[in-house]
C-alpha cells in the first residue's frame, strides 16, 4: 500500500529501502552494541559504580542505545542521498513535484524510524544483561526522538554536501564518530577532570546522551531541561540549514 501524498511516499520508500537490507542496517548495529556491552561490561562491571549505586552495565545500556540511535539515524539519510546521487537514481525524486519541505520530512522521518528501530533493538537485547530503571519515560522518548531527528538532519546535510563516498566517510569518521564516543556513552563526565568536563559541555551529543540517560535513572550530569533546550535549539538550527539547502537545490540542481 503506497501512501497517497508525495512526501509520505518518499518516507515509505526510504523506510522500505533500509528495511530491505535489515541485516545490514538494523541487525548489524544491534550486534555491535551488544559486543560493546559484553566487552566493556565484563571488564568494568566490578570496578565502576556510577551515580553511587548504578551498576556499570546498567549505566552503559542507555548510552549504547542512544549511540546506536544517533549513528544509524545519520547513516540512513546520508547513505541514501550519497548513493542515489552517485548512482543517478536521485533524478526520480528530483523530477517530482515534491517540495523541499517534503524532502526534509521524508528523509529525516525515515532516519528517525531507523534510529528508533535500532535503538529499540539494542535495548531489547541488552536488557538481558542488566535492567535499567525507567525513572522518566517521557524524557527517554523525547531525547531518542530529538537525537534521531538531529542526526538524521545532519546526515541529510552531509549527503547533500558530499560528492563522493570518501567525503562522506570523512564526515562520519572524523566528526560524528568522535563526537558520539566523547559524549559520555561509556562514562559519566562527572568522572572527568574539570577541563575535560568543560570541553564535554561544548559537545552537543553530550546533552542528547545525558538527557536520555536521565530518563532511565533520574540522575544526570546536567539538567534534562537544559539538555532538551540545547538539543532542540541545535536541531532547529541544523533543520533551517537543511531546508535552505534543499530549497536552493544545493549540489543536486545545477
Amino acid at each position: 500500500m503506497i501512501a497517497t501524498t508525495g512526501w509520505r511516499t518518499l518516507l515509505y520508500k526510504e523506510t522500505l529501502r533500509f528495511w530491505k537490507v535489515g541485516f545490514q542496517t538494523v541487525g548489524a548495529p544491534i550486534l555491535t552494541a551488544v559486543l560493546y556491552l559484553m566487552v566493556f561490561g565484563h571488564v568494568l562491571e566490578d570496578h565502576v559504580k556510577v551515580y553511587g549505586t548504578v551498576s556499570y552495565t546498567a549505566f552503559l545500556i542507555p548510552g549504547l542505545v542512544m549511540m546506536s540511535v544517533l549513528q544509524n539515524a545519520f547513516a540512513n539519510s546520508s547513505s541514501s542521498i550519497i548513493q542515489s546521487k552517485i548512482m543517478g537514481s536521485l533524478v526520480f525524486v528530483l523530477l517530482t513535484p515534491l517540495s523541499h519541505w517534503g524532502w526534509f520530512l521524508a528523509y529525516v522521518g525515515s532516519s528517525i524510524i531507523r534510529g528508533l528501530a535500532v535503538g529499540l533493538g539494542v535495548f531489547v537485547v541488552t536488557i538481558f544483561f542488566a535492567m535499567p530503571d525507567f525513572a522518566a519515560p517521557l524524557w527517554i522518548f523525547a531525547f531518542a526522538f530529538l537525537g534521531a531527528a538531529m542526526l538524521g538532519t545532519l546526515g541529510l546535510i552531509a549527503g547533500l554536501w558530499a560528492e563522493k563516498f570518501d567525503q562522506m566517510a570523512m564526515f562520519q569518521n572524523f566528526l560524528i564518530m568522535p563526537m558520539t564516543f566523547l559524549s559520555g556513552v561509556f562514562y559519566s563526565i562527572g568522572s572527568l577532570p574539570p577541563f575535560w568536563q568543560g570541553v564535554s559541555h561544548l559537545n552537543p551529543f553530550f546533552y542528547m546522551i545525558d538527557g536520555f540517560r536521565y530518563g532511565f535513572f533520574g540522575i544526570s550530569d546536567t539538567s534534562p531541561w537544559l539538555s532538551f533546550g540545547i538539543v532542540g535549539g541545535a536541531w532547529l538550527v541544523v533543520s533551517a540549514v537543511a531546508v535552505h539547502l534543499l530549497r536552493i537545490g544545493y549540489k543536486i540542481r545545477g
Binding site: 520508500k13 529501502r17 537490507v21 548512482m87 543517478g88 525524486v93 528530483l94 517530482t96 513535484p97 540542481r253
Partner: protein
C-alpha cells in the same frame, strides 16, 4: 497556450578554478534559445554532442536553472510553479539509472506516489504490457538487461500520465525490438493528444516521427521548421557510390563518407555529370553508383557544417 515554451533561455556554467587561473571564461551551453512547442506536437531536438540539448531538457525538468530567460510547461514556469510544471511533464533521462532496492512494480508504484496518485495498478499494468515488461514486474531492476531497464525508465516517466513526454535519446544503444515497441507506444500516446519532445542521434527516427524539428549547434538554434520544410531546404538528391580511393579535397569537403561509401549532394543531372567527371579526372574509380532523395541527415550535416544562415522560421 504552448505545451513547452523557451524564452530567451541562456545557461552558462561558471569557469572552474583551473579555467579561471588560465583566464578562460565559463561555458555558455545554451545561448539565447527561444521556441515553443504546441500541444499535440511530436517535436525533435537535434544537434551534435555538446550542442546543448540535454542542458535545455535539464532546465525544462528543473534539474538545472537558466542563467537567463524563462521556461514553462503548459503555462507553468518551471522555477516558480515547479510543482504544476512537473505534474505535466514526464521525462525519460538519457542515463540508464535505476534504484537497486526495488522491483519494477514497486518502482512504478513509488513513482506514482510521488505525484500523489494512489491505486494506479491498472495504468501500471497497461504500461508494463505496452512496453513488454509484464513478465518482469516482480524482477529486481539489477536483474534486468540494459534494454529492459530503458523500458522501465520510460514506464516511470509515464506513470503519472503526463501531458508532455520528453525522451532524451531513448533509443541510444538499444535493440530494434525495443525501438519498435517504444515508437509504437509513444506514437499512440501522441495520437491521443500527448506532446512529445524527442532528442536523438538517429536522424531517420526523427524524420519518421517528428512533425517539427529544431537543430542546435553550440547552444544556439540554427534551424527550426517543419520536418518537410527542412527536407526541402537541402539538396533534393544525393549521389551515392563506393570507392577505395581518396577524394580530391574540393569534393571531399562536401561529402558524407562512411567507410567506402561516399554521398554527395547533387541537385540535377548536370551536377551529377560534373561530379563524376571531376572524379574521373582525379583518377578516382567508383562503383555501385546510385541516386537517392536527400534525407534529414543530409540537412543536418549541411547545417552543422555551418555554411547556411541560421533559420529562425517559427511555424
Amino acid at each position: 497556450m504552448p505545451a513547452i515554451s523557451f524564452q530567451s533561455v541562456c545557461k552558462t556554467y561558471p569557469a572552474t578554478p583551473q579555467q579561471r587561473a588560465q583566464g578562460k571564461p565559463g561555458l555558455r551551453a545554451v545561448d539565447d534559445v527561444s521556441f515553443q512547442i504546441e500541444e499535440g506536437e511530436f517535436f525533435g531536438l537535434l544537434g551534435p554532442n555538446g550542442a546543448g540539448k540535454t542542458t535545455l531538457i535539464s532546465m525544462l525538468a528543473g534539474l538545472s536553472r537558466p542563467t537567463a530567460g524563462a521556461v514553462s510547461v503548459h503555462g507553468f514556469d518551471v522555477q516558480r510553479d515547479y510543482a504544476e510544471a512537473r505534474r505535466h511533464l514526464g521525462i525519460v533521462p538519457q542515463e540508464l539509472v535505476f534504484d537497486p532496492f526495488f522491483n519494477v512494480r514497486e518502482s512504478l508504484r513509488i513513482q506514482s506516489g510521488y505525484f500523489g496518485i494512489k491505486n494506479n495498478d491498472a495504468w501500471i499494468d497497461e504500461l508494463l504490457h505496452s512496453l513488454g515488461l509484464s513478465d518482469k514486474a516482480n524482477a529486481n531492476l539489477r536483474q534486468l538487461s540494459g534494454g529492459m531497464k530503458r523500458r522501465v525508465l520510460v514506464a516511470q516517466a509515464l506513470v503519472h500520465k503526463p501531458q508532455v513526454i520528453v525522451l532524451d535519446e531513448p533509443t541510444a544503444g538499444v535493440d530494434v525490438e525495443l525501438r519498435q515497441t517504444l515508437w509504437q507506444f509513444v506514437a499512440k500516446l501522441n495520437k491521443q493528444g500527448s506532446t512529445v519532445l524527442l532528442t536523438t542521434h538517429y536522424l531517420e527516427e526523427a524524420e519518421a516521427l517528428c512533425n517539427r524539428i529544431a537543430m542546435l549547434k553550440q547552444g544556439r538554434v540554427i534551424a527550426l521548421d517543419r520536418t518537410s520544410e527542412l527536407l526541402k531546404s537541402a539538396a533534393s538528391n544525393v549521389l551515392r557510390f563506393k570507392t577505395d580511393a581518396d577524394l580530391p579535397w574540393e569534393i571531399a569537403q562536401h561529402a558524407r563518407i562512411t567507410g567506402r561509401i561516399v554521398q554527395l549532394p547533387a541537385q540535377n543531372a548536370h551536377e551529377v555529370e560534373q561530379l563524376l567527371g571531376a572524379l574521373r579526372q582525379a583518377g578516382v574509380a567508383v562503383e555501385d553508383v546510385e541516386m537517392r532523395k536527400a534525407d534529414l541527415e543530409d540537412v543536418f550535416i549541411d547545417l552543422m557544417a555551418g555554411e547556411q544562415t541560421p533559420l529562425e522560421v517559427a511555424r
